[in-house]
């Protein structure tokens, strides 16, 4: 009984502010004639018209497709590359400064190179995503593999585990949490890069839609596109956390004890 009221109270305190903010926005912008702050009602109208309408297949689906391909490629390349480089002390040391450089390079500055090499289009968008977003996962996988306990290393050697067994049962689980931390940054970078590359070098996609509407002063469209990007970023992060919880469930169990 008591706990029930507690949870409802928590839910209520969590909800009042967002609800109040939206209502405040709705009311204060209702009569707005300002060019830059159209009424929220108009924004919602445009949002529904465009994103539950023609732009769903024209822009939203292409963006999601490119994002999925790019993120998967970056993740797979980052993890396998990190494994290969991380398991040997010397390759690790050799790779470090280069990985550090690309890790610190703001990915979007690669976009001009992508335009020159591949031109404008989906292939280039994906290329830029992979090239820019692979590094956090690569770096964290290397670190995760490196941090393998010496006793465990010796142990797997004396049990004569094959390389596949060693990777599957010793190295990967050990590096798991750190790989996921890297993947999370890769996810954020991928979203940033897909949006940027669509803004600069694409003829469709959400990024293209938002920047184009800004350049043509279609302000309500700019707001609607920005809100859509925000919602997508939020959903992607929720989905990622759910997958992480699942994959690392055994780990949370261990650390709880």
């Amino acid at each position: 009984m008591n706990t029930l009221t507690d949870t409802t109270r928590t839910a209520l305190t969590r909800l009042w502010l967002p609800v109040a903010l939206v209502i405040a926005w709705w009311v204060s912008s209702a009569e707005s004639t300002s060019l830059y702050f159209p009424p929220l009602a108009t924004i919602v109208e445009v949002f529904v018209r465009d994103w539950f309408g023609p732009h769903f297949t024209a822009d939203l689906l292409p963006s999601l497709g490119k994002f999925l391909i790019g993120f998967t490629l970056a993740a797979v390349l980052g993890i396998t590359g990190g494994m290969l480089l991380g398991m040997n002390r010397y390759t690790r040391a050799a790779a470090e400064p280069i990985v550090l450089f690309f890790r610190s390079l703001p990915g979007p500055v690669l976009v001009p190179i992508g335009i020159m090499v591949i031109g404008i289009g989906a292939g280039m968008n994906i290329f830029i995503m992979v090239l820019g977003a692979v590094w956090p996962t690569l770096m964290n996988t290397i670190d995760g593999v490196r941090s393998l306990d010496l006793v465990q290393q010796d142990m797997s050697r004396s049990y004569r585990l094959t390389l596949t067994q060693r990777i599957r049962y010793v190295v990967l689980p050990n590096a798991g949490p750190q790989i996921f931390a890297g993947l999370r940054t890769t996810l954020q970078m991928s979203i940033i890069l897909i949006v940027v590359s669509e803004m600069v070098a694409s003829t469709n996609g959400i990024g293209f839609y938002v920047l184009y509407s800004q350049q043509t002063f279609a302000v309500a469209e700019t707001w609607a596109g920005t809100i859509l990007l925000g919602v997508l970023g939020y959903l992607a992060s929720l989905l990622f956390i759910a997958v992480e919880r699942r994959v690392l469930a055994w780990q949370a169990g261990i650390t709880k004890e």
């Binding site: 305190t13 967002p18 040391a93 500055v109 020159m116 940027v196 302000v219 707001w223 920005t226 970023g233």
Partner: protein
């Protein structure tokens, strides 16, 4: 989690190998290997463009780019661009510290504030700051105000999250002890609160700093505000490729530099913390 993402655990301590004379320690070997790999990549790049495998219309030779970078280092324009990028990032970062500290104290110490802001914070956190560039351009044009606003918005979250986490970690037993020993406000703050918070604050600040640089460069690249990013875009349009690559190199080195500065800061400030002592791992 966030911390683990960017903080590599302090370098694995060199294992003394019995039987080998200690002429080189492992750290020096690592450095030499790293330097050799960098030289190798540059050499490969050079060779590939010289032999025509890489199109020099797209990838000018490494030496051409490095010479151009050297030339740029002597020009005022280059330093002006660098400063435009860096100063916006630093201004944004200062705002992040200010806003983040106040907000973290409110969220970390008052239950009601924490619950009320939870949905809003969790919703705003994963929004890519880049998505706000068009909106920023509409509202402020390609100005420093636009840059600093977007930088602050983008870089706030790691610092805020770490600070809230740090405040939660402040040990209640230690605080109770401080009050029963009547340490007073000043001693409690300097001896218990600050040492607990500092590692979290610095980690958050380092992640925020690298985001700040990225957002700063991208607002210039797309929004056309003055700085490294804008020069890269302009150089690409004018087909001034060596300049473009020299600036891209600069952007990466700026990021590496920021990271190193913050790591260097952590050493003297956190020398007592386990992560900074050599005997971990």
């Amino acid at each position: 989690m966030v911390a683990a993402d960017i903080t590599p655990p302090a370098g694995a301590p060199a294992k003394a190998r019995p039987g080998l004379p200690v002429l080189w320690d492992a750290r020096a070997t690592d450095l030499a290997l790293g330097a050799a790999a960098v030289a190798g990549v540059l050499g490969l790049w050079e060779a590939l463009s010289r032999t025509g495998v890489l199109d020099t219309q797209v990838f000018p030779a490494a030496s051409t780019v490095l010479v151009e970078l050297w030339r740029l280092l002597g020009t005022g324009v280059f330093w002006g661009d660098l400063w435009a990028t860096l100063s916006s990032a630093l201004t944004g970062l200062a705002l992040v510290v200010l806003i983040g500290t106040v907000a973290a104290m409110l969220i970390g110490l008052i239950r009601f504030v924490e619950n009320s802001t939870w949905v809003v914070v969790e919703f705003l956190k994963p929004i890519p700051p880049i998505a706000l560039i068009p909106l920023g351009l509409l509202l402020w044009g390609p100005s420093p105000t636009m840059k600093v606003t977007l930088i602050t918005f983008g870089a706030l979250w790691p610092f805020l999250t770490q600070m809230v986490y740090g405040i939660r970690q402040t040990n209640n037993v230690a605080l109770d002890m401080a009050s029963s020993y009547r340490l007073g406000w000043w001693l409690t703050t300097t001896r218990i609160v600050v040492p607990t918070l500092l590692p979290y604050a610095l980690t958050g600040l380092r992640i925020s700093a690298s985001i700040a640089v990225i957002v700063s460069v991208v607002t210039e690249l797309i929004g056309g505000a003055e700085g490294i990013g804008q020069t890269i875009a302009v150089a690409q349009i004018n087909n001034a490729l060596p300049t473009m690559y020299a600036y891209i190199l600069t952007a990466g080195l700026l990021g590496v530099g920021i990271n190193l500065v913050f790591q260097a800061l952590e050493k003297p400030l956190l020398f007592w913390h386990p992560s900074q002592r050599g005997d971990t791992n």
